[in-house]
């Protein structure tokens, strides 16, 4: 469902330019659970941002369900992200003084159609990550593990095709890491596509397919 070809990405700052991605080709099928590994600074997050239509490559092609996404304008890309992707970040990125439920409802504000059962859906998403008794807690009243689970619930609310997770366990202890990975395994069993970016081999090994990013190139099953 996602195909990228010959992706190059160069960051330029003043006279200094860094060539992060050097001709990446990759296809991810529906229902796959993929881990992208690599040490820090290898461009894992950049690759994930390009996969999630948050960023554009310097050159190359990105195709999503047969659509050439690089030809889409900003508004269409926003709508596409809203419909197709659920994002999970290392820093959670919750609205702090906002309840867990309102955080989960966030993507629906920008949906084409606001579902009549939005609140029930938010409660359902929270109960899938084991936070049914925390719906009215403010984000900053929750522990790190709970905050990441709220973020996962937020990623699920729009019933997206793909979950993109950038170092989802980077700020969590081992117990919370296990919980989050269990949730991903469950979602994978529901035939959802999952892409996890991580530097942690244990996390990567939960995935069905492991890719390694090294020197701007990608290697399969390292």
């Amino acid at each position: 469902m996602i195909k990228i070809r010959n992706i190059e990405k160069t960051y330029t700052k003043g006279s200094l330019s860094t060539h992060v991605l050097r001709g990446i080709n990759l296809a991810i099928d529906r229902g796959e659970y993929v881990a992208i590994m690599g040490t820090s600074g290898t461009g894992k997050s950049t690759l994930m941002n390009i996969l999630g239509c948050l960023d554009k490559p310097t050159s190359g092609h990105v195709e999503l369900d047969g659509i050439d996404v690089l030809k889409l304008d900003d508004d269409t890309l926003s709508a596409l992200r809203n419909k197709k992707f659920g994002f999970v970040f290392q820093q959670f990125f919750l609205l702090e003084r906002t309840t867990a439920q309102d955080n989960v409802l966030l993507p629906l504000i920008y949906a084409d159609k606001y579902p009549a059962d939005a609140v029930e859906r938010a409660k359902g998403a929270l109960s899938r990550v084991g936070l049914e008794d925390r719906t009215e807690y403010l984000a900053n009243e929750l522990s790190g593990g709970q905050q990441q689970r709220v973020a996962i619930a937020r990623a699920l609310i729009n019933d997206p095709d793909v979950i993109l997770a950038d170092e989802p366990t980077g700020n969590l202890d081992s117990e919370n890491t296990r919980d989050v990975l269990e949730i991903f395994s469950r979602l994978h069993k529901e035939r959802r596509t999952i892409v996890v970016v991580t530097h942690d081999r244990e996390v990567a090994e939960k995935a069905q397919r492991i890719l390694e990013l090294k020197d701007g190139k990608i290697y399969e099953n390292p």
Binding site: L54, D55, S78, R81, F93, L95, R97, T98, Y110, Y114
Partner: protein, 406 residues
Amino acid sequence: MNRMARIFKESFRVMGDNKLRVFIMILGVAVGVASLTMMICVSTGAYEEVMDTVNRQGPDLLQIRPGTDKHTGLPSGSREVVSLVEEDVDAIQQHIGNILAISPVKDRKEIEVKYGDKFTLSRIFGVKPAWAQIRDFGPSKGEFISDDDVSFAARVCLIGQTVKKNLFGDADPIGQTIQIKNVPFTVKGELQWKGISAAGRDRDDRIVIPITTYTRRLLRDIYLTQIVITVADTKKVNESVEDVRALLRERHKIAPGEPDDFVMRTPQDLIDLASGASRSLINLLTGIAGFSLIVAGIVIMNIMLASVSARRNEIGIRRAVGAKREDILSQVMMECFLIAIMGGLFGTVLGYGGSLVLSSLKVAASKITLLAMAASILSCLVIALVFGIYPARKAANQSPVDALRA
């Protein structure tokens, strides 16, 4: 619920999550708007007060004073300027049509007046009987000066309400004898209460006596300080002014091209003067208030900019989950509008309250007008638009990746 309504609700919710920040911004707008409202109320009040005074004098009043200070406000009636004499009055009466009533006036301030052991300083006016009608300044009790009083230079007077209070308290002054510069005068009547003039002078602190008595027995001034005229037909007031001017110039032997040695004022002149003065007052006050509104706007812009940069992650996550640029723009603009409107309402109430307090303390007259309300609300919306657009655009134009990386 459509998308706009959802974003509106979201703006409201975010504001609720940031009460302190919102409160400071509302306060900033409120102070600006309150001063604008108050300025407009007070200057409108002042303007109406002046117009009231002018209108009370009637549209048919013509005043002639000695002097040449046409452009420096109301003539001073300075004693050094000597040009008008009683013969001028007789000449006007004989040669100019359209004159309903005319009276010469002589006056001097700070003349000592005694009654028993009471003492006061007051302004003495020497007039003819027509003066009461011309200036609408008749007696509230007793009688005004008669033609006989003038003919015989009778030692009679009418006293204003302030003089009455100073010398007699609550007692009845009529028939009593007071000493003006040690000359005994019988009080014939009390003058109506008039209050403070537009120039801030107590119009009740005066004593009116026959002009003949003034000249022969009291102060011996030859020159007049004023001639007051009521015209019969107000439509022809301008012609009458020109006729009188021509006559006086001829009598005073003023060569063509030389300036008049007297100043003539019609009610229109007074209205122009008064409205000109209050217009510049309004302009000044509105300028100051407008400036404070701009300051309020800059406060909003600054806090909004700080808030937008503190909320970069929030904006980033909103963009990541599907917010379009215009959604972010709308949200920030709505926050600005809501703050401006709340600040506006709060400020209007505050400004009205303040102007009511000012007028009840008699510090300034004030009038609550729709203009003030409309101006406040409009200025709030303009503030929101002008000072909100920059932070809003700055927020909306961040790329989601940059916003999340911050």
